[in-house]
Amino acid sequence: MANFFLDNSDLKHHLHHPLMEKLVALRERNYSDAEKYDYAPFNFEDAMDSYEKVLEIAGEISGEIVAANAEDVDHEGPHVVDGHVVYAKGTQKNLDALVKAGLMGISMPRRYNGLNFSLVPYIMAADMVSRADAGFVNIWGLQDCAETIYEFASEEQKQKYLPRVCAGETMAMDLTEPDAGSDLQAVMLKATYSETDGCWYLNGVKRFITNGDGHIALVLARSEEGTKDGRGLSMFIYDRNDGGVTVRRIENKMGIKGSPTCELVFKNAKAELCGSRKLGLIKYVMALMNGARLGIAAQSVGVSEAAYREAIAYARDRKQFGQAIIEFPAVYEMISLMKAKLDASRSLLYETTRFVDMYKTYEDIAKERSLEPEERAEMKAYQKLADAFTPMAKGMSSEFCNQNAYDCVQVHGGSGFMKDYACERIYRDARITSIYEGTTQLQVVAAIRHVTTGTYLHQIEAYEAASIAPELEPLRDRLKAMKEAYVKAVEAVTATKDNEYIDFQARRMVEMAGHVIMGHLLLADTTRNESFRHSAEVYINFGEAEVAKHAAFIAHSTPEMMADYRK
């Protein structure tokens, strides 16, 4: 009888972050919905109580249903019947349970039948579902495509599609094609407007589309004939009820095998334009991707949690040389570092989620009334932080997730290499997190300008000024020294004014900032909750060495040495 919310007190800790009082009041417009809806909260305490109760439901379904089905789903996988996807039996059961529990459209407003929850509990549910089955979370988590419809579609479209998502219809985002992966400007799928029918038709092929046979899809297509770049692309909504799209095949993947990755053929598929023409890539996909990246960060943290739990359980159970292997320094160091990376990436995940939620909520309020000057300033500040933290959270947590999955197998020794233990599946599932929705390398591309423009540094200084438990000061002093090393490295690299060289060193600099930021977040966590102390100590030991390593590399580099790598 596992409940993934109740068995993990760290989640409650993050749910009850001090910023929540303000965030929830904004989300709930000072709790004015309580007059109209009998399931809306009266006040902050009531809202938080509801969040907890609903997360308990999500935790129960994750622990008892999704986790229990994960192994069978991994073996069975989805298949294609008559051009459409049939999920593995367990996948369908998982989905039915979550739909019946009303856990779709969690963050949608109540007028579209959503729960109007903050993004924090939504991401927390994704964290738990991912721990249960990393492949399944993709199908369920694509509900955040609804955010894009909510933000950019017409009122008529919102009324048509959003209640359907809240009632359990699944979604897909059809972006990539055989020749347009990381480079979406190369998208070729053709959108033609028929004057006679008064609607758009889509023709072409999409590839690597997660849940490609979902009920409602957002499709990126070329609406401007003769164009070749991103400015010729628009966003469309395809409704499976209209037909015109068939699934040609499902990819045979290394991991997340329950999640159908489809190749789609569009043959005169009727579609509706979403938002304005030509803004498909430059505006809407960017918004869509930011939401999806936060989702992958949550997935990464959930998989890290699963890896950590499998590893520690095995290490306590497995005896060699007359004792449990967790008694050996080589093993207990590995396990505590796994926990530290897990805790650090989870703290970063929820910090980022709050930033995103704050600015999105202000943005939404701005549609109803004009913001006060201080509100507008706050929105801008959070938007900047969200932009800076999203690629960092996705990049760092997915790398940590892979490292934890690797160590999980390592702790299992020879048994870990066999198909008998869950760690083998976790290892395969983890691998995609640092690849899709933008590889780690592309997250660095998005993050680097916040290194050069000082967004990270500015936020680090804010953390340095925050009050923490006095006994943590020595640890904070070490973080300050790490920041000095970071500043010095950034100055040395940017002083060259050589863009290729900045790109060359970018990942090192982003990681240095990441270690310092996560160190500060863990100190804040420890101040609120003593149970994080070990992770704070262990993480800062680890991060300090990483920062020193990168600092040494940068100190000994020059733009000229790139020649050795360029060949």
Binding site: Y39, V54, I57, A97, K100, A101, L103
Partner: protein, 290 residues
């Protein structure tokens, strides 16, 4: 057609994972050591009711339970899954009831509800395992009963078609309504609690749970009548005092034995046929197998 469905449910100690302290010295259940849960097969019954409600728009589900005031917890559990309201049959005079007295009390309550098409309940409760209460309620109300139901296939022209799971097969029967149907554990599992419903009904309370609330809080119950759960006493259901509780229970528990399984050291065998044969004989002799 819309149906008026009554679901009989019981709050039971969770006997599925019992520890050493599950029983007191005197052989009675140590309720403090066992969490109180919604009887599992009653949840199967509730799921059948919810499916009927989905198939027959306008239907309502009323949960009826007998027990101490805290049994209101399972009424809320039902509301969180889609039931419409509930009644706790609670009175000191009901205490100590065997199945006869229980079914009498429940049938009195059902008579008071008066307007019903189907009464659903679990096959049996995991604390008593008698499977008697459902059938006895049907007898007392003078209506037909279907036991071991796995699925209610359809409701048409005032008749229910029900699939029964029997020991060696499946039987499909048609029963005129109103009827009592008791549901097997092999039926569909009950759906999870629903996010919206848990928010809507989390403050639902019985009169005794409302005691001590401020005027301000009580206003909520006037504004939202659905949050009022009901408590009925012996008088409320016009029950005969001699037929309820201990007084109305001919069954007396004479003695209860606490059986404690003790783990023994493991036994090593070689793969020799003779040793395996010896083991099989031993297991048959001590009734482990055979």
């Amino acid at each position: 057609m819309s149906l008026k469905i009554v679901v009989l449910a019981k709050q039971v100690p969770d006997t599925r994972n019992v520890g050493k302290d599950a029983m007191k010295e005197d052989g009675t259940i140590n309720r403090a050591a066992l969490p109180a849960i919604f009887n599992p097969e009653d949840l199967n019954a509730l799921e059948q009711a919810l499916q009927l409600k989905e198939q027959n728009p306008g239907s309502t589900i009323t949960l009826l339970t007998m027990g101490p005031p805290r049994a209101a917890e399972i009424i809320r559990e039902g509301l969180f899954r889609g039931a419409d309201g509930g009644i706790v049959l609670t009175d000191r005079a009901f205490a100590g009831a065997d199945t006869l007295a229980t079914s009498y009390a429940l049938s009195c309550a059902v008579r008071k509800i008066k307007d019903f098409d189907i009464i659903l309940g679990g096959r049996q409760a995991i604390d008593g395992d008698t499977a008697q209460v459902g059938p006895q309620v049907a007898e007392k109300l003078g209506i037909p009963q279907v036991t071991y139901a796995e699925q209610i296939l359809k409701i048409e022209n005032g008749k229910a078609t029900v699939k029964r799971r029997l020991e060696r097969g499946v039987e499909t029967v048609v029963v005129p309504l109103p009827a009592v149907i008791t549901v097997n554990g092999s039926a569909d599992e009950c759906r999870p609690r629903n996010a919206k419903l848990i928010q809507r009904y989390k403050y639902a309370k019985t009169p005794s749970e409302k005691q001590g609330l401020s005027e301000e809080c009580l206003k909520l119950y006037e504004e939202r009548p659905a949050l009022n759960l009901y408590e009925w006493s012996v008088n409320d259901v016009d029950a005969d005092l001699d037929q309820v509780g201990l007084a109305g229970s001919p069954t007396k528990v004479k003695a209860v034995q606490n059986v404690v399984f003790q783990a023994k050291e493991s036994k090593q065998l070689t793969a020799a046929d003779s040793e395996i044969e010896e083991l099989v004989k031993e297991l048959i002799a001590n009734h482990t197998i055979g």
